[in-house]
Symmetry: C2
Subunit: 306 residues, 2 copies
């Protein structure tokens, strides 16, 4: 999309969409959406981040400018003739359940992610929520990947489990929500789910519980991160993507993976996700500063301090 | 019930029952149950605790011995002619929802709690989950109460809200689960619920979220305590009562109420509740030692440490 392609610390592959979102009090159309804008925007607060995805010829130039304003490198975002992926959903009154009203793949149907040369040496990779086959295809182009995280969703667990298991074997970290962890493993207790996932290959698994925070499991134990108690929940869309992006961005900034950095990364991810849901689309992240993130991380620490 | 009545640091009023509990894998009958045995047993790990309740002539002497073995003072437990309160429930396969199969009030129907002389100077009081009128009746007999906590349930919010609001006005702390907080306040967001409850009188409110931990709200902020990730969930009955009892027992032991002590009390409550659900009835608490509680509190702290 952008001509310039700079070396990045982290690249992320995912979907780019134009969303309609309906909540009890609002009905917003033609919003920038998809897992990629949320995750790369969140990551770009911390590290030089490259985006790998596809948009159609109808993807507004204004969206591109707003995305780039986060500092995200868009060299890996192809612009194809055709329509951008479109998605619409409606939330229930309590913003817990959502109904998908529309999914039009557009150019996303024939998407074949290609990694810009400048991304190939990046040590940190986040395989955002797209078809497992594509995640594998793009991962194979990456020579420098040292720490790879994988995000997925119930759809792929349902219709592409063998391919998904193949990707899971090759990554260091799997991030899933509690329902997906249960679906993937056939177990209910989240400790059992985590133990089963750790046997599939990854050294770490993050189970996201939305408003209840997240759990990080590894051989060395469990780390619990609460969700920041959000006073005004406007739109939960993209919260999980913002969480994963901020987590990986924080790690990529440090360039190392230690238990201590992972815990800090989780707190920063929780803080960024809590801001993300305070506005539609990327609107709240666009107003956000590193200082505000730091303040919320400090608040979270105070809420957990004994 | 017991002749001897000793001075106590904390007294608790609640229900005493004989329970049948059905889970996916087990069907147990005639278990010691009710909010009072769970809460007083949990509190007795930390402080001299008196129980205020009623049992029928059929309440087994073995239950009384097992209860007393926790060190709980039973001088406030009346033995009346008639049947002990009986309750039966069945849990769904995932131990999340439960169906009440039987509620037979027995002697509990005409229960009029009377406070033993020796309890009247106790500074700490937990009004366990019974009719709000009875909670108020027994609270009025207490001259020494300095820090009063109130536990309640959806039933009283539904059928006795005015009386409940009267009790809420007189207590320092309300403990409710998330569903009850929403029912009581008519709000969904838990921050909004807490703000509304703090306006009703209490200086502190604890919102319990079961497997997701608990939140303590006060004017000075929020404290988040996670649930200890339990590997083997056997029977969730009484978890909330154990939590409230352990919390108040821990505070009563210190004899003071500070933010720091409250946070420690919440961690101890979380640990005790996590043991409680690892067995039926009081079985897991009967095997429990202070050292094991301390170990799990230390583990919880490690899981939260950054």
């Amino acid at each position: 999309m952008s001509k310039k392609s700079a070396a990045v610390n982290l690249w992320i592959v995912g979907s780019v969409g134009i969303d309609d979102v309906k909540t009890r009090t609002a009905d917003r159309k033609n919003l920038m959406g998809g897992s990629l804008p949320f995750s790369t925007a969140a990551a770009s607060f911390f590290a030089k981040t490259g985006a790998v995805g596809v948009v159609g010829s109808d993807f507004p130039a204004a969206f591109e400018r707003r995305w780039q304003a986060f500092g995200t490198d868009l060299a890996g975002v192809q612009r194809q003739a055709g329509a951008t992926f479109r998605w619409a959903c409606a939330y229930d009154a309590n913003m817990i359940e959502r109904e998908t009203l529309k999914t039009e793949l557009g150019v996303f149907a024939d998407f074949k992610p290609e990694l810009p040369e400048a991304y190939k040496s990046a040590a940190f990779v986040l395989l955002g929520n797209i078809q497992p086959e594509l995640q594998l295809h793009v991962l194979k182009q990456s020579a420098g990947a040292k720490f790879v995280a994988l995000d997925t969703m119930n759809l792929w667990i349902n219709i592409a489990k063998p391919a998904l298991r193949k990707v899971i074997r090759r990554v260091n970290l799997l991030t899933v929500n509690d329902g997906e962890a249960r679906m993937l493993t056939g177990k209910w207790n989240l400790c059992d789910c985590a133990a089963a996932i750790l046997k599939m290959g990854p050294s770490h698994v993050i189970i996201k519980k939305g408003e209840h925070g997240a759990l990080l499991f590894s051989k060395r134990g469990i780390f619990i991160v609460p969700a920041y108690p959000v006073g005004k929940l406007v739109d939960p869309t993209g919260a999980g993507d913002s969480f994963a992006g901020a987590f990986m961005g924080y790690l990529a900034r440090g360039g190392r993976v230690t238990d201590g950095l992972m815990r800090e990364a989780l707190l920063h991810a929780s803080a960024v996700a809590s801001f993300s849901v305070e506005g539609f689309s990327l609107e709240s992240l666009e107003r956000l500063t590193l200082a505000q993130i730091g303040k919320r991380v400090a608040e979270l620490k105070r809420m957990m301090a004994v």
